[in-house]
């Protein structure tokens, strides 16, 4: 049965220049393998839509346990130059948590 990530995991977004980071952490560490299997870089890129147009790199942090995604933003969509409402991309954690897995 497909479930929203929101029910399984929590997330925090951060920004570094033209990159946005999102760390995704299961409420129950036993769900970590499920996240590793289902939350691919390609699915994250599609889920974040216009906020992650370039490459997405995934790091596995088994010590949290959690997945760390580092996503490239569009040229010009940086914290200082963005014309978007959320220049920092701090809200993208909520977009990720709407993904069904």
């Amino acid at each position: 049965m497909s479930r929203r990530l929101l029910e399984l995991a929590h997330a925090r977004a951060g920004d570094k220049g033209n990159l946005v980071t999102v760390v995704l952490i299961p409420y129950d560490p036993a769900d970590y393998p499920l996240l590793c299997a289902r939350v691919s870089t390609e699915r994250v890129r599609r889920q974040l839509g216009g906020r992650a147009v370039g490459g997405v790199v995934r790091h596995e942090m088994a010590n949290i346990p959690g997945l760390l995604f580092v996503c490239e933003r569009a040229p010009g969509d940086t914290v200082t130059l963005s014309t978007g409402l959320d220049a920092h991309a701090k809200s993208v954690s909520s977009a990720l948590l709407e993904m069904c897995v």
Binding site: K16, I25, G49, V70, T80, V92, A95
Partner: protein, 445 residues
């Protein structure tokens, strides 16, 4: 002497953080050090603008407010203060601290850490990390600040200064410096430096590790968020620590809050680079050891990078953001129509417009929420252009929607500001000369 843990509090995680929780930490935290982290990427460039207008300015704009509330309890409790609230003018900030202290009748010794300003030393032809283009091609350069490390701060800590004011310093270094000073860690003790850097990383955003930037009911609950406590660390001589907060404050410290902050703004968990060390965050184990107490284990480290990162600010034109609201079951349709009308009217200007409906697609574009039909929406049109006059046309056309747009447009707001862009480069350590300048003491008279 080293048997007792070193107690370091984080009284601010950004320039706009609240002051009362920092005062509470000083009053009740039995702290050895209070650290204030007040600089975002472009804060120094904005401070540089203020300094150009008035050579005495350029330090953190909330400096007076923070000092008036903090100085007396800091001195009374024997807590030393260390922070980057000098921003673009650490010496001016240090002098301002002395002025505040004199007004309060509180005797303090203040020192400024100089040397992060490397605008005269960088090569405008050097490529920016982000896009490979020469720095100088981005626009007129207005600031260049090297991220200093603990080697710049240690001489200040070895002095008798009660308050240490710096500009750009790597955020974790603000916390690592008191640890290295107190425990006498050697500059090549990479594992201890990495362990202390992890603690600094967890504290550098202040309340983000104690339940701020976290609540998401009904899934994630934060008790008494309104009275959120700010964090403190009890650091041991081996670099491990307990992260906690004061009893009676709001918030929570547990595996969830620590886990989110450990991964926050990290680009490579196996190689988190600071001027002091390269820390491997994938080696950190952490455990709940009591209510709102998380013990952070050791972190493996590797030798520090040879060069220092430099943040370069440049003039990037002007940004105009303009908004107008529509309500009712046809609100989305009228908001869309209004956006199309503005785009059509500005078609000849060459302006690139960002048009969105707040409440529908302003945050994530045509993503998960764009199909909704909210009762009210807010049209937002924004643009960046080379001149203020050019970009102000956006505000003028959105304002004109009152009479010349769809029915029921309401609540126009227009904001235009200069844009300071930020790109990064590096500088050899040898090109950066740091200096500690004492600006006290003054008596309480």
């Amino acid at each position: 002497m080293t048997a007792r843990p070193l107690r370091i509090g984080a009284g601010a995680g950004f320039a706009g953080d609240r002051v009362p929780p920092a005062v509470d930490l000083v009053e009740r935290g039995a702290l050895d050090y209070l650290v204030l982290e007040c600089l975002a990427e472009r804060t120094i460039a904005l401070g540089q603008q203020r300094r150009l207008a008035d050579p005495e300015l350029g330090y953190d704009q909330l400096l007076d407010k923070r000092m008036r509330l903090l100085l007396e309890p800091l001195v009374r409790t024997g807590t030393r203060l260390l922070g980057n609230f000098g921003a673009a003018n650490p010496l001016g900030g240090a002098r301002r601290v002395l002025t505040c202290a004199a007004e309060l009748g509180v005797p303090v010794r203040v020192a400024a850490v100089l040397g992060d300003d490397v605008l005269a030393a960088i090569d405008p032809a050097a490529p920016a990390w982000e896009d490979g283009r020469p720095l100088g091609e981005h626009g007129e350069l207005v600031s260049a600040n090297a991220y200093l490390g603990i080697d710049a701060l240690l001489p200040a800590l070895e002095s008798d200064a009660d308050v240490i004011v710096c500009g750009r310093v790597a955020d974790p270094s603000l916390f690592l410096a008191p640890m290295a000073h107190h425990f006498g860690w050697r500059p090549d003790d990479d594992d201890r430096l990495a362990s202390g850097t992890t603690i600094g990383h967890l504290l550098e955003c202040g309340p983000q590790v104690t339940g701020g930037y976290f609540a998401d009911p009904p899934f994630k609950l934060v008790p008494n968020l309104a009275e959120l406590g700010y964090p403190l660390a009890e650091v041991c001589a081996d670099g491990t620590a307990v992260v906690t907060k004061l009893p009676g404050t709001g918030g929570r410290v547990d595996r969830m809050t620590v886990g989110e902050q450990l991964g926050y703004e990290v680009l490579d968990p196996t190689g988190y680079r600071t001027p002091d060390v390269v820390a491997d965050f994938s080696t950190v184990e952490f455990h709940e050891v009591g209510t709102d107490r998380v013990r952070i284990g050791p972190t493996a480290g590797r030798p520090r990078p040879d060069a220092l990162k430099v943040s370069v600010g440049y003039r990037a034109g002007f940004r105009c953001e303009a908004e107008i609201s529509y309500a009712g079951s046809t609100a989305v349709a009228r908001g869309r129509l209004a956006g199309e009308v503005v785009a059509q009217r500005l078609a000849g200007t060459g302006l690139r417009l960002a048009v969105s409906l707040i409440g529908v697609d302003a945050l994530h574009g045509a993503g998960p929420g764009a199909a909704g039909r909210p009762y009210e929406v807010r049209l937002r049109v924004a643009s960046v252009a080379a001149s203020r006059e050019l970009v102000e046309a956006v505000g003028e056309e959105v304002t004109a929607l009152y009479t010349s747009g769809p029915a029921g447009g309401a609540g126009v707001r227009v904001h235009t500001e200069e844009v300071i862009g930020v790109v990064s480069t590096s500088i050899p350590r040898a090109a950066v000369r740091t200096e500690v300048v004492p600006v006290g003491p003054v008596g309480s008279q």
